[in-house]
Symmetry: C2
Subunit: 504 residues, 2 copies
């Protein structure tokens, strides 16, 4: 405590999500001598590490003289605890911010500029506002192809990259991704099981939900632990040929993880960031061959054939530029795939398909087989047009189900997904035929019911397009863990009903 800018840490346990905040007394000697006020950005050192943080001033006796506090994210980043000494000082200017502003003003960013920005982001030098400005400046179609390549390369460069030993005599590492926007559609666990059972290496990392009721990692977590570090992931993949883990804990694209934390509340779409996000994670996972599914539909993420085609080509082009063989396909995105929407409900669909149950959702089974076939063919391990047959055999003879259980065990042990405590069906108001589904509104019902945080919550979808229904027949069932959440979801349904599932 001899250093004039030293303060003792008082742990207040304030969780500001990933935002780094330092709490200082208004009359703290460091604030006074350095001129720190609320919202100042400061350099905080402790335990041999350094971060940038935003100042919040405390005007009560929450902190004693000579004390400061840190938000939980900041405290964990430094690795400090109660009574540890932290040092505060003025940060050096973040030089890449002028490059970021130049992009805001409409100028292009070259490889070097993009790399400097992404490097500073990963080092935590950007505040939440800076991140929001960068994400906004790159949103929509504001990155050209060269910038998308630059962003992807930069995001790969700042993260780790896994190298895999040759497996079953080849060095091919396969992967898959779905652009999203479709509720349910939880093909990944099934595809990984089939492809790994076939003998290919598929080290799959998945995301948690950003704006959807469930991400693949959320669903997989219902069946096995997914928060594996890179070493554990490597152990699972070397043993079983495949895994399904959360990409965030693997830390494969730390830049992407930080951008997502502001994209989520802003709900902004960005073609360039989507491509960079997907491909940087694949490259970091050591993949060589990647299949990307682009669902196309009026309420999917991609809504016109033209946009789907542009995205398809750009994924392949940017992939090629960063050394990935990418095959992108456009699929039907007019309605959910499978019945479950929400972590646990989707997990039950996955189990039904893998176990070959007679009531397993046929559309989920079909789409999983299509993607698995493409991967198997792309890897060159079977003749063209033989992928489908091979995938079907592995699913039907139980090899995929056995492989899936083995992967779950290797990831830390298989689990049984929970069931919801509260549910209520939403009924058809009249006889007719289902002609359209609003994916976004249906997803919103699942979210209002509590998904993904309430893991058993969501929607069980019972009326795909073309279904003939009678008055009073259930179109879908809303599941919730708490009566309050069930009521929120049903309140919303009551204002939106005929907009969600159209019966004509």
């Amino acid at each position: 405590m001899h250093h004039r800018n030293a303060l003792r840490l008082r742990c207040l346990g304030i969780d500001t999500y990933q935002h780094h905040v330092v709490f200082l007394r208004a009359d703290c000697h460091v604030s006074v001598s350095e001129g720190f006020v609320s919202q100042s950005r400061v350099r905080v050192s402790g335990n041999g590490r350094t971060i940038l943080a935003t100042v919040n001033v405390v005007k009560s006796d929450l902190l004693a003289d000579g004390e400061a506090s840190l938000s939980e994210a900041a405290r964990l980043a430094l690795g400090v605890g109660e009574h540890d000494v932290i040092l505060l000082s003025h940060p050096a200017p973040v030089e890449s911010l002028s490059l970021m502003r130049s992009k805001v003003y409409g100028n292009r960013l070259d490889d070097k500029a993009m790399e400097e920005i992404v490097k500073d982001i990963v080092l935590g030098r950007y505040s939440e506002l800076h991140l929001a400005a960068f994400v906004t400046a790159c949103a929509g179609s504001r990155l050209d192809e060269a910038e998308m390549i630059a962003l992807t390369r930069a995001m790969i460069k700042v993260g780790q990259r896994i190298e895999w030993r040759s497996h079953n005599g080849n060095r091919i590492v396969v992967d898959k991704h779905c652009v999203g926007g479709l509720p349910g559609n939880r093909t990944t666990p099934i595809v990984v099981a089939i492809v790994a059972a076939h003998g290919l290496l598929i080290p799959k990392t998945s995301s948690r939900a950003i704006t959807s009721p469930a991400g693949t990692a959320d669903t997989m977590e219902m069946l096995a632990p997914v928060e594996l570090g890179i070493d554990d992931m490597r152990r699972v993949v070397e043993k079983e040929g495949g895994c399904i883990v959360w990409g965030g804990s693997a830390g494969l694209s730390p830049a992407d993880d930080m951008l997502i934390r502001v994209e989520r509340p802003l709900e902004l779409d960005s073609e360039g960031q989507l491509i960079a996000s997907v491909l940087s994670k694949k490259a970091a996972a050591g993949s060589t061959h990647v299949v990307v599914d682009i669902p196309l539909g009026p309420t999917a993420k991609v809504r016109t054939p033209e946009a789907a085609e542009v995205l398809r080509q750009r994924l392949q082009l940017v992939g090629h530029a960063v050394g990935l063989e990418v095959r992108a396909i456009i699929s039907d995105g007019s309605q959910p795939v499978g019945r479950g929407i929400g972590p646990a409900l989707e997990a039950y669909d996955v189990l039904a398909v893998l176990q070959g149950k007679p009531d397993a959702p046929a559309d989920l089974r079909e789409r999983s087989l299509t993607l698995a076939s493409l991967i198997i063919e792309m890897a060159g391990s079977v003749p063209r047009n033989m992928g489908r047959q091979q995938a079907e055999v592995l699913l039907e003879n139980g090899a995929a189900w056995i492989k899936f259980q083995a992967i779950c065990e290797a990831q830390g042990g298989m689990r049984i997904p929970p069931k919801s405590g509260h549910h209520r069906p939403v009924l058809a108001r009249h006889k007719g035929r289902v002609t359209a589904i609003d994916n976004r509104r249906l997803a919103r019902v699942a979210k209002l019911a509590g998904a993904p945080k309430a893991v058993a919550a969501g929607v069980e979808f019972l009326a795909p397009i073309g279904t003939e229904v009678v008055k009073g027949q259930p179109l879908y069932v809303v599941h919730a863990e708490a009566q309050g959440e069930l009521n929120y979801a049903l309140d919303y349904v009551s204002t939106q009903d005929s907009n969600i599932i159209t019966v004509e």
Copy 2:
């Protein structure tokens, strides 16, 4: 406390600037039943008022069961105190966010869309991230003229608008504005004094520093109180014909005040927001005739004659569309105007000019006379080309100085600006002639020395372009209130010296 979503307020005194934050225990019954997590946006009601706030979860025993806390800004917005009851619920979706996102994606915003966005901003429905995205989407030259008009109209509409009684037999209300970017250049107090002494109505509102070492309000505050509400402002103007108050406390353009809080840390320039900010405040102040000064120079805010001319015409065009007569002029922005840079130092320059001291900065006197003349002529109160003579007479015969003192008294009493406790000159390294000044770097020295928060801090500029200097002659003096801040500024100077003032 019978309502299931009620919590008791515990005041923790945490100042998050203007950001509304609600602090909740992780195991709080409301968080659990409603599914609130860190970063959730929630509706908080209390004392008959409602705000939106961002959740921070507290994982310690800082809050007891049944307690919640609010950031100071949120607490004051609701007007609640210790142990008061607040109610939390899910907020209705903020509909205008989809319009904001549409702008991010490159679409135009029409009058109605802009109005809905600005209305939601003023109602506090936008989080910091949403504000950052909106500011970024409008930055640079991303608003076209129709959008600038729409934004200006919307910003006028959400604020108050002062109506003035006819004054000295006419209904003209004059005003002035400087686009900024030039350190010092504190003409406003002098111009207001001259123009009011001439008998015109000039209810001047000014801003505090955003990224500069001092705003006019910061400087004027060295001489008299500036935080007057609209009623006090009206009293001063009706008595003296003029005032110089802080626009923020007058609440004349609340939307602008909220946008500035994110523009400041982002350091983004935006032509559309600049125009809307300036003109909405003038219209709200009830002005009819406005003179705008656009300093042009290589390190001023406006750097090319083309950009200056576009801005000049747009100010006049947008002004006309919202019912303001605007005359914009382009002036020399190659170097600071006056000697002082920083609140108190600038205030001493203002006093020297008004008091007619022999050592008063001639450039500040000259520019103030130019602007005052234009205003007097624009108002039609003297024949064309007679404005200059009239302004000079009022300055030289002491009428402006007497008027200024009267205005200060009416605003709450005239004050003597403080002097700095620490200062050191920066010397010419060799003999030569001053050929260029970097306004931005010079301003940065003043800011590192503590300005505007340390009011006596800043720079005393002694070597305008053209000055012949000998080795060791002071080019400028750095003033600070604390030795630490003086050292910061001098450390920066030592790395930048010949880049700040060029001697050839």
